[in-house]
């Protein structure tokens, strides 16, 4: 790893000032992704801003939202009483991600900003438009087993690796950002973006700005929820396909539903059409299958990931069924 300068500001204003003065400065929180990328030479840092002294470690219930500070550890968020009581789907997704050691280091803000694990992005000697714009996409014609089937472009078919974000997407969470101009919010489904012609841009975070919190609006998805994660081993692996499912059922009728997929797109893939189809319908395997088939509209498989086209509908049905029988 190259030499770099290390600074540790104690408040948000100083951190933002450092970032504004020096556009090459990079923030570090848990470091589970950044240190890895620095070791591989994929990210070269000249000034590292350790933000761990910033007061962003609270989880609180506010009037309309639960607010989770950006520096809350993934393990703390997963086991926090407010989260397990009000947003258990988020808890399930957090615990499905990474390993206990990594969850003890990784923060909520960092989880959102983590980079793709696309093997072409992670190898400096391979072409990758995300790492080096204009160099081409190695995955399109390469070994694309882990790659996107939704929302990809000719420039990039990488996937966002987070489990947490899939739950946040389903729960309509917002990302709270502080920049020099002040604080503002962007829905997570807008914040994380599709690759288009600019895969080097993972998200809408502007320069000299920080994620300070995540806010989840209050809702009643506390009982019939499930996070299904299909992966190559039973734990500690990235998703081939994952499904966040939340249902609100009364007398066998679906009053409300949320569905989002992980491991299939450059961002969590929310299934608005399937949700719309299910609202007002009876809980039944037939209806779940119909909703799952709707999800496949616009899906595109590549040489090594076409299996996901079959895996996705089955996963959606299973997640919905497990959500129905969850207690």
């Amino acid at each position: 790893m190259n030499q770099f300068q290390y600074v540790k500001p104690s408040d948000l204003k100083s951190a933002l000032t450092i970032l504004a003065k020096d556009p090459t400065a990079r923030c570090i929180a848990g470091g589970t992704n950044l240190i890895d990328l620095m070791k591989k030479g994929i990210v070269v840092v000249e000034k590292l801003v350790d933000i761990n002294n910033l007061p962003l470690k609270n989880i609180e219930t506010l009037d309309k939202v639960v607010r989770i500070g950006a520096l809350v550890l993934n393990s703390d968020a997963a086991e926090n009483k407010i989260i397990t009581a009000q947003h258990p789907l988020l808890s399930l997704a957090l615990n499905a991600g990474a390993s206990p050691q990594l969850r003890n280091m990784a923060t909520v803000g960092g989880n959102i900003l983590q980079r793709t694990r696309c093997s072409y992005f992670c190898d400096r000697y391979m072409p990758c438009n995300k790492r080096q714009p204009g160099s081409g996409c190695g995955a399109l014609e390469g070994y694309n087993r882990m790659h996107a089937i939704f929302g990809g472009s000719d420039a990039c078919i990488a996937v966002h690796p987070s489990d947490m974000c899939v739950a946040l997407s389903a729960l309509d969470a917002s990302v709270v950002i502080s920049g020099i101009k002040g604080e503002y919010r962007i829905a997570i489904n807008e914040f994380l973006r599709l690759p288009g012609d600019h895969p080097e841009k993972d998200n809408m975070l502007e320069k000299a700005a920080l994620i300070t919190a995540v806010e989840i609006p209050h809702h009643t998805f506390t009982k019939n929820i499930y996070y299904l994660k299909i992966r190559d081993r039973s734990s500690y692996a990235f998703a081939l396909v994952s499904v966040a499912a939340a249902l609100e059922i009364s007398n066998g009728v679906i009053n409300d539903v949320r569905l989002a997929l992980g491991g299939v797109a450059h961002k969590p893939w929310r299934l608005y059409q399937s949700e719309k189809y299910l609202i007002g319908k009876q809980v039944s395997e037939f209806n779940f299958r119909e909703a799952a088939d709707l999800a496949l509209k616009n899906a595109k498989g590549y040489k090594y990931n076409a299996f996901k086209l079959k895996m996705v509908p089955g996963a959606i049905v299973e997640a919905l069924q497990k959500a129905v029988s969850a207690t």
């Binding site: 030499q3 300068q5 240190i35 000249e46 350790d50 390993s99 206990p100 039973s234 500690y236």
Partner: protein, 212 residues
């Protein structure tokens, strides 16, 4: 010629030269000898006096296995490299060095982390426990004893990480069943495949009720 003129000016009390300028220049020269590319970039963007601190070692205080260490560290040194290369605490192992295998697992303020993915400077002021801090060869930690009893290892390379992680699993309250232990030990890979024996060892210590 130019130099001569410069010298003359200095003798005349040229206002551009001061002790501060001298320090800036000399630190720039020192740094140049280290990493030219970065420094030239830094000089171009006029970081001036910041260059002096850019490559300095930083003071770091750590409590490691109940012993206080006052250190001076380059920011790029990971906690694992500090332990192994600088302090001779080679119990924590470097397996993948990318947070994928768990051989480097240590406790920081009682919580397990991958020491290969953490910079030592980020742990300033914290308390660290490595495998060396658990017991001695005369007086093994109960989980070390259980690993021997249950054949919890073959080559032994992952074992320090497994044992630290196993202690954390018990303390966290995630050792309720074999399935739960397996899930919460998933960050520690064992290429010899001793998983069932590792689970047995952790189960026994948990059920024995001894403080770990």
């Amino acid at each position: 010629m130019k130099n001569e003129k410069h010298c003359n000016n200095k003798e005349d009390g040229f206002p551009g030269e001061s002790r501060r300028d001298f320090i800036k220049q000399s630190s720039l020269l020192t740094a140049l000898a280290l990493t030219p590319v970065t420094i030239l970039k830094a000089a171009e963007s006029e970081w001036d006096e910041k260059i002096a601190v850019a490559f300095e070692k930083l003071p770091v205080t750590l409590q490691i296995n109940n012993k206080k260490y006052t250190l001076s560290l380059e920011p790029r040194v990971t906690l694992l490299d500090l332990l192994r290369e600088q302090l001779g605490l080679t119990g924590s192992k470097k397996g993948c060095d990318h947070g994928q295998c768990g051989a480097c697992t240590v406790l920081v303020d009682g919580r397990r982390i991958n020491s290969c993915l953490s910079l030592a400077v980020m742990q300033d002021g914290k308390s660290i426990t490595t495998i060396e801090g658990l017991g001695s060869s005369e007086n093994l930690h109960p989980l070390q004893e259980a690993f021997i009893k249950h054949d919890g290892f073959q080559c032994g390379y992952c074992t320090p990480g497994q044992i630290i992680s196993g202690i954390a699993v018990i303390r966290e309250g995630h050792a309720g069943s074999a399935a739960e232990i397996s899930e919460y030990m998933s960050g520690n890979i064992c290429r010899c495949g001793c998983y069932p024996h590792i689970v047995d060892a952790i189960m026994e210590v948990k059920q024995g009720g001894k403080k770990v």
